[in-house]
């Protein structure tokens, strides 16, 4: 049985969270399919990296360690992945929906003529009957994602092409240790054999890897604004509330597109997925594209002029009214009662 592969990403010398999340998902897919889970790590100075990966259930870790693989550029990574996938013929290949995964994934899928689904929010195993061809496909990867601006959720399959490839954003899957003592095999890749001079034509001249200033993912309270905030200036009340609550400010895609907030604050399908204990949605209508990124919040307060806004249906508290009136009151009464 062909394996499930996870292409791991290295961030500051460590395996990125999104890769560990995918390994966790990959482990459960591999168990369902009764096949192996294999990880692929490419980079430089990766000594001992497998120790970070085995506890997540990988049976094999392929390591390509070469100075030409760090920092990441498309062509050398694609050359190694293509060669390995042609050899190993995985049935499933998963990548993080990061700038790296979304750069590498389509390059590989184009070279291997395999299907790729971006930004999946769920991955499941299931069968498919092609009635026209009278064919039944067993154990396909259902790649589930919002599409069409988030107004629908589509289940995508790749019946005939392998590997079935998918990218998943950070925070969408849960990261869980499979077994702290789990051990597998390490396979070294002979990178030198695979790289050609034409793979090295793109050069990184300069890079500052600043830590993201905004980290809404790790915030237990999020005050989020939508297009209904009306302006960048009005967003200020959200920063004020976030400050007194020790929260971070998030935003819907519409608010980001309108320039009210920076992209790194975007919550939703094309932003980050958050699971805070409290999510205060201000002037957010509640398009699927947004709620896909916050529906697992423990508690939701919706503040909106529109009593019929879809967000209200998933809220624990609905305040029908003007954000610019309600939020300053929340600040005022929080301060009053916290003394």
């Amino acid at each position: 049985m062909n394996s499930v592969f996870v292409i791991c990403e290295i961030e500051e010398g460590k395996v990125a969270d999104v890769s560990l999340e995918l390994l966790t998902k990959g482990r459960s897919l591999a168990s369902t399919l009764q096949c192996k889970l294999e990880a692929l790590v490419l980079g430089h100075q990766l000594n001992g990296i497998e120790k970070e990966i085995f506890p997540y259930g990988a049976d094999v870790v392929h390591i390509g360690d070469d100075a030409r693989l760090a920092p990441y550029t498309t062509l050398p990574h694609a050359a190694v992945v293509n060669a390995l996938f042609r050899e190993e013929k995985p049935q499933i290949g998963l990548l993080g929906a990061t700038t790296m995964g979304r750069d590498l994934g389509p390059r590989v899928s184009s070279a291997l003529v395999s299907g790729l689904t971006a930004d999946c929010t769920a991955l499941e195993i299931g069968d498919h009957e092609d009635k026209k061809a009278g064919k039944i496909y067993k154990n396909l990867l259902y790649q589930i994602r919002p599409a069409f601006g988030g107004n629908i959720v589509a289940t995508i399959i790749n019946p005939d092409c392998r590997p079935q490839m998918a990218t998943v954003r950070e925070g969408v899957m849960k990261k869980e240790i499979f077994s702290a003592t789990h051990k597998g095999t390490v396979k070294k890749i002979d990178v030198d054999k695979l790289l050609k001079p034409e793979d090295l034509v793109v050069k990184v001249l300069e890079r500052h890897m600043e830590k993201s200033r905004v980290n809404i993912k790790n915030s237990s309270i999020i005050v989020a604004g939508g297009y209904g905030m009306g302006s960048k200036e009005n967003f200020q009340v959200l920063y004020d509330l976030a400050e007194v609550l020790g929260a971070e400010v998030g935003a819907s895609r519409a608010a980001v597109d309108a320039g009210y907030a920076d992209h790194d604050r975007q919550v939703g399908q094309t932003g980050v997925t958050v699971r805070p204990k409290l999510y205060i949605a201000c002037g957010i209508s509640g398009q699927i594209q947004h709620t896909a990124g916050m529906e697992e919040s423990a508690m939701v307060i919706a503040i909106n002029n529109d009593p019929m806004a879809p967000i209200n249906r998933m809220a624990d508290y609905v305040i029908t009214g003007d954000v610019m009136e309600v939020v300053p009151k929340m600040i005022k009464y929080y301060k009053k009662n916290s003394k």
Partner: protein, 290 residues
């Protein structure tokens, strides 16, 4: 030395305004039911191309789009903003193409255009949000790719320097020409239409559009070749139909679901001082805040 730049652009349904009737039973989109717009990030891409044209004398910007006949609208839109010409790839055989089949068709058309130094596209289209077509085209053409570009800094001596916007910072890369670049929405917005260009190109039409005109329509395109938007079919770009449309698409839509939020009992409050204070106190009491 001028640069020959191809901009890949897509006409997309305005997914911000989707009605109930926008989906067909087979899981594909009934685009006819929606307003069609120039994909936002493709406008960012066009602006980068136009800036290079401003900077390097004798450069040209050619738009390439694939879609139904009415996608000629976005070629005109590009001409109004400063592009020099455009190609519309249109054929029933393209219908139902996923990103891979689309990239194959575009790569065939780019080979047909033949003479180019640089290909620039938007990072992703708002109807699919996949960001796959740019890299897939690059692979099909065996060209290097630079994704998530925010600014093309320079294109000199056969090399291009690009600033990329990544999750946690920025990166400056150098790539050889030709390469495929995909541009983020964080890049500069596209310049508006120029009145002069609007006058010049408002009668730019594809041959199908010209045929659809009334008999008394005065066709000026023979004297003014710039009014001709080239229309290409599968045969024109020498594409193999088996790599196109549904048959050329590894991914299939198994099912589509319109998600309805689970109805949940919510406490409905007013903006009154009493209600807001009550809520804040309740949240503080159960340690949700504070």
């Amino acid at each position: 030395m001028g640069l020959k730049i191809i901009v890949l652009a897509k006409q997309v349904p305005d997914t911000r305004n989707v009605g109930k009737d926008a989906m067909k039973a087979d899981g594909t989109v009934n685009r006819a039911a929606l307003a069609a717009i120039f994909n936002p990030e493709d406008l960012n891409a066009l602006e980068q191309a136009l800036r290079l044209k401003d900077k390097y004398k004798d450069s040209t910007v050619t738009l390439l789009t694939m879609g139904p006949g009415r996608a000629a609208d976005i070629i005109r839109e590009g001409l109004f903003r400063g592009a020099d010409n455009g190609f519309l790839l249109t054929d029933r055989a393209f219908a139902g193409s996923d990103t891979l089949a689309t990239s194959y068709a575009l790569a065939c058309a780019i080979r047909k255009i033949g003479d180019y130094d640089l290909i620039i596209a938007g990072r992703q289209a708002i109807d699919g949000d996949t960001a796959q077509v740019g890299p897939q085209v690059a692979e099909k053409l065996h060209l290097p790719q630079v994704t998530y570009a925010e600014e093309v800094l320079k294109a000199e001596k056969g090399k291009i320097t690009i600033k990329r916007r990544l999750e946690r910072g920025v990166e400056t890369v150098e790539a050889p020409l030709p390469s495929v670049i995909t541009v983020n929405s964080s890049a500069a917005p596209c310049r508006p239409r120029a009145a002069k260009l609007l006058m010049k190109y408002k009668h730019a039409l594809t041959i199908s559009e010209r045929h659809a005109k009334a008999e008394d329509y005065i066709d000026l395109s023979a004297d003014r070749p710039y009014l001709n938007i080239q229309e290409w079919s599968v045969n024109d770009v020498e594409a193999d139909a088996k790599w196109l449309g549904l048959s050329g698409s590894p991914t299939k839509v198994k099912s589509i679901e319109n998600v309805v939020f689970q109805a949940k009992e919510a406490k409905v409050l007013t903006p009154s001082d009493a209600d807001v204070e009550g809520l804040v106190k309740e949240l503080m009491a159960n340690h949700t805040i504070g």
